[in-house]
Amino acid sequence: MAAIRVEGLSKTFRTRTKAEGFGASLRGLVRPAWRLIEAVRGIDFEVGEGEVVAFLGPNGAGKSTTIKMLTGILAPTAGRAEVLGIDPASRRERDRRLLATSIGAVFGQKSQLWFHLPPSDSFRLLGAVYEIEPALLARRRAELVERFGIAEYMDVPVRKLSLGERVRCEIAASLLHAPRVLFLDEPTIGLDVVVKREIRGLLEEVARCDHVTIFLTSHDIGDIEKVCKRAIIIHHGTVIVDESMKELKHRALAKKFIGVKYTEPVNLDISGLVPLKRTRDAARFEIDTRAHRIEDVLRLLVERGEILDLTVEDESLENIIAGIFSGRSEEEARAAATARPASEGPTAGGER
């Protein structure tokens, strides 16, 4: 069974607009103006049980809106979603309860811990809210405290914890009721590199040991590379890429970067190759592997002089994804230039 199934899911927000000036404000009282914002436009995808999926997109792409629809916070305007076979938009109390006990959610910018109390109080409350038997709660809490290394923070008020310590507690708290699907919306936002690495390690462990389906949105490519096996990329409310990390990284193979440094100044004019950077004794080339064989380029470089250092690199995942976004934006810009004026229909934009 698919853990998450999404078919034609859409969300349009109706936002009141306010023009400048006192007159416009008065007119707004009588005839308010509204704008429709299509945050998510008929997206489709499926996530299997135990999969770890990255849900990527630039600001305003519709990532958070999608997660909110999947967790039952927002009702879709059209289309349908299922999480573990449950419709998150269902108004039946039984469905809502079942969904709530089957999923966990961490919203990087919204804490579920009580700010002035130690995490142990929030754990006690969440254990009670999810109706976990006291003995089971104690066992589960002990496991998570050990796994997340948070024993020393459990009796310190949350306001006195560092962001990294708090996020560890947040994720542990969201796993207290042993959810089968975990939604993480920007969990590493604002963390330093060391803490990010720790959190990624913990998420990997959760996915591997507990077979939890993880659906992760992030701007951080490191999160995605280290934790996820598949990436869904959303842009202006539409899914533009849905492929495994392997396939996504394969795109990198089409491009290599070669850096070379010689012991003395050399002539680096090579027909067909334009260096990205160049000094008298060093250069960095971007090679399109469909046009040039790497070994041919290397041979040419070796022939030019005595090499002090040589590097061959793949394109970073960050650049690949940035390239996908900018490529799509250019296509859309071209399409928009020939289409009807934007004011005639719903607009896509704004922070979502």
Partner: protein, 279 residues
């Protein structure tokens, strides 16, 4: 542990965690206790002035020789005010937190939990409000003894009725404020509704006993829940009879039920209107 106990535990723990949160800063109570004490002092002076004026014959409304207004003497008026203000100070500020949570979108993140949203907030709010009200009552008893004389407590049933009535008044306060806060689903700015609610509640039975209002106003007031927010416990405190107490407690229970059903209905309709844009 059986299911019912597990369900009861979630609301009990919500109340206790909220109470612990409130206790994190004892200074939280200081401002409301100080304001309450100041109000008692000011009103005890006012009632003293009113009734000494009566003694000098300058208050025609006073029953001759008895020094009472609509059946209340000076001590009764002061004790009335002391008890009537407890639910207003102790339970009177839920609206601001709820409305803020709704406007900020925080409320959206609390919806995906397996609890009754209204019940969870009720438990959380009452946890700290009951402690605050208990402290207010202690301050009130001390100041009342100084300004009005002996505590007008005749029997254990009266004390029980006062406490129960205060709890029902607090519950009604919570539910009415919750319903007003939920108008945020439809209106961007709803503080004005709460302002009007607060002012009516003050006039109808908080600052003055209900009997001080004109007959027509009293008749209208009894069709609303306002007399049950402060008048009911205060009346039981200063003029206790088993029959009056029972009638007032029953009326409070009825209005609490009506308000609870209203809250559930408004919430279930309103939650579909939640829009939470932004990451």
């Amino acid at each position: 542990m059986n299911r019912h106990l597990l369900i009861a535990r979630k609301y009990r723990v919500a109340a206790s965690v909220s109470l612990r949160n409130r206790l994190a800063y004892l200074g939280n109570f200081a401002s409301s206790l100080a304001t309450y004490a100041l109000f008692i002092f000011v009103f005890s002076r006012i009632w003293t002035a009113v009734f000494s004026g009566a003694a000098a014959g300058s208050a025609p409304a006073l029953a001759s020789g008895h020094r009472t207004i609509a059946g209340y003497d000076r001590a009764m008026c002061i004790w009335y005010f002391i008890v009537a203000e407890v639910p207003m100070f102790g339970f009177g500020h839920f609206f601001y937190t709820l409305a803020q949570d709704m406007k900020s979108g925080q409320v959206a993140y609390l919806l995906g939990r397996p609890y009754s949203f209204v019940g969870y907030h009720y438990a959380g709010s009452m946890g700290s409000a009951i402690l605050e009200s208990a402290l207010l009552l202690v301050v009130g008893l001390i100041l009342g003894s100084v300004f009005a004389g002996p505590v007008p407590l005749g029997s254990l049933p009266q004390a029980g009725a006062i406490l129960l009535s205060l709890l029902l008044a607090g519950s009604l306060q919570f539910l009415l404020q919750f319903a007003i806060a939920m108008t945020a689903f439809w209106f961007e700015e709803n503080t004005a509704f709460f302002w009007i609610f607060q002012k009516i509640a003050l006039v109808v039975g908080t600052l003055l006993p209900l009997e001080f209002l004109p007959d027509a106003a009293q008749r209208v007031a009894w069709w609303t829940p306002f007399p049950l927010l402060a008048y009911a416990p205060a009346r039981i405190a200063v003029a206790f009879t088993p029959a009056t107490a029972l009638r007032l407690l029953l009326l409070q229970a009825v209005w609490v039920s009506i308000a609870a059903v209203t809250c559930r209905l408004v919430f279930s309709v309103g939650r579909a209107k939640i829009t939470s844009q932004g990451g």
